[in-house]
Amino acid sequence: MAYVILKNVCKNFDKTQVVKNINLEIKDKEFCVLVGPSGCGKTTTLRMIAGLEDVSEGEIYIDDVLVNDIAPKDRDIAMVFQSYALYPHKSVWENMAFALKLKGYPKNDIMEMVKESAEMLGLNELLNRLPKQLSGGQKQRVALGRAIVRKPKVFLFDEPLSNLDAKLRVQMRAELKKLHQRLQSTIIYVTHDQIEAMTMGDKIVIMKDGVIHQADDPVTVYFNPADKFVAGFVGSPPTNFIECLVVKKDDKIYLDEGTFVVRVNDKMRIRLEEYINKKVTLGIRSENIYDRFYYSGTKTEGKTLMATVEVVEPLGSEKYLYLTTGKNTFVARVDAFNKAQVNQDIEIVFDMDKAHVFDIDTEKTIV
């Protein structure tokens, strides 16, 4: 199997740079997900690894081989496209056997290999059908089959699930993960869906405007975001951001929003020392905001504030409360039995141990 290394990789289209100096190391057998909003350069990066786009600057290595000038077919990689890209004039069998035929495998070997992959994906019944006679999910399977039949070093997936309906997507997500465990191969997967990234990836690479903001495992990305963008992009509902002034009073440091003041914990205090009388962004996830009435934690001193409920969204297992302080609005994820009503003023608690503070200019995480 294989590892992939990107060194200072850039991609320019005419005068616009869409991928800016990317450095990334994908380990052997790793499921690496490139995720970001549309236009962030994730697909371009994938296409450069595939060899479908030239690399403007930098180097791409697969194993120890510099592949910048190696044709896609000689890189020993397979790609699954968003549109599946099945050849409409070829049957499922021919679609799967095409690459093997071009590589000059003997007929018997091709038969064996296609059969093996077809069995793995449950495609045996469909081998003689044309793509137009298949459902979306079946096409997706064939596209997968076409990739795995070649036993490549690296699999590239370009938003392979985005054309499926929600239910099928969840199902395929699990299947892809199973497939990865079974094949034990390196996978690079592009998606714009952060849930897909979180659930599938061993490593998540969060990109925006052609730059990698963070590349880490899902837990790290969720609990220790590198910057404000990552904190806002990962998780649903997104992290709440509140602009505050750092103030010092009685040797304690507080964040002053204007309508409320919260005290920072010791860890934050050390880092925020240099930000006194400066503005920062407080980032707190919805599950770390509690209704004081139901809060089971003990120490709430300096962490509570009053807010008005604007909207209540019951989701069954839980509720989203849209709260406002008059200056800022934010979402709290509370238990389903919470009785808060619209327009009611409630006292809420910020779990400051789980909150983050970001620099207002660089947007980098301070703590």
Partner: protein
């Protein structure tokens, strides 16, 4: 009450629909009659005696019916040779045009090279130049090559088509780029993509172009007339003029010969009718 009005309005709508359809059919029928009349007159004349062509009032049903006009026409000139020439030339030109046009169209649609679009528009612009203008220079060129009165002269200048390139380019551009990328990943070269993916997916467009080209060449009169001298190189449309003298025209034989010439084309048309309409719809042009 309301029900009745609904019923009534539906009935009125239906009547208007029928009226509209009737008018359309009447107009179309009239036009098709106008179109088919010369054709019927040709068949009628081909079966008449020589003296009965210009009788007044014109007779549509010949009496007596003279079938031997066909035999006579066939024997009067080397028709067999003309047939072979026509089929051979039309076939080669069709193969040539489909090949060159599809290769050029693939380059213009999918390959990236500097000045591609400018070159394409320049190529398209050649469609604006009437054939009569290039006729003489090409003739002189062929004369210097010593190709006059050969198959090469009949085939090669016709084996390229800006129209065909344009039509196929438009079609190729509708083929998803992902398919091409997939083929590249699977190990196809540029030509492999053209051969294995683009061409098989373009069968309707290729058939349309082939049909247009074949028929256009089958009917081509001017060019074969200019570049052929000897009887053995003439094609059917040129051969037909043998029945037209300077002062007299043998109408019955000419018409009989015309019917013979028309048969293959009619067969091609009947089988490939759908490609005609498709081709016109696809390119917004008539071949």
């Amino acid at each position: 009450m309301e029900k009745i009005t609904k019923e009534e309005s539906r009935r009125i709508k239906k009547r208007i629909e029928i009226l509209k359809k009737s008018i359309t059919y009447i107009i179309l029928s009239l036009v098709s009659i106008i179109m088919i009349l010369p054709f019927l007159w040709m068949i009628s004349t081909s079966l008449k005696e020589a003296g009965a062509v210009f009788t007044y009032p014109p007779k549509w049903i010949p009496h007596p019916v003279v079938f031997k006009n066909y035999l006579e026409a066939w024997n009067a000139v080397p028709f067999g040779r003309f047939f072979i020439n026509s089929i051979f030339v039309a076939f080669c030109v069709t193969i040539g045009q489909v090949t060159t046009s599809s290769l050029a169209a693939y380059a213009f649609a999918r390959l990236e090279f500097p000045g591609r679009d400018k070159l394409f528009f320049l190529y398209l612009a050649t469609m604006m130049i009437p054939g009569q203008i290039t006729m003489i220079p090409i003739f002189i060129l062929l004369k210097h090559l010593n190709w006059i009165d050969t198959y090469k002269a009949l085939i090669l200048p016709m084996a390229f088509s800006a129209y065909g390139t344009f039509m196929l380019r438009q079609f190729f551009m509708t083929i998803p780029k992902d398919l091409e990328d997939a083929a590249v990943m699977d190990g196809c070269s540029k030509f492999g993509v053209y051969w294995q993916v683009i061409l098989p997916l373009s069968k309707p467009a290729l058939a349309t172009l082939a049909t247009f080209t074949f028929l256009g060449n089958w009917n081509n009169f001017m060019w074969p007339l200019i570049v052929t001298d000897s009887m053995k190189m003439k094609t059917l449309p040129v051969g037909l003029t043998s029945f037209q003298g300077l002062y007299t025209t043998d109408w019955t034989l000419l018409m009989a010969a015309s019917v013979i010439v028309l048969m293959p084309i009619l067969i091609v048309y009947i089988f490939n009718q759908r490609f005609f309409t498709k081709g016109i719809v696809m390119s917004g042009l008539k071949g």
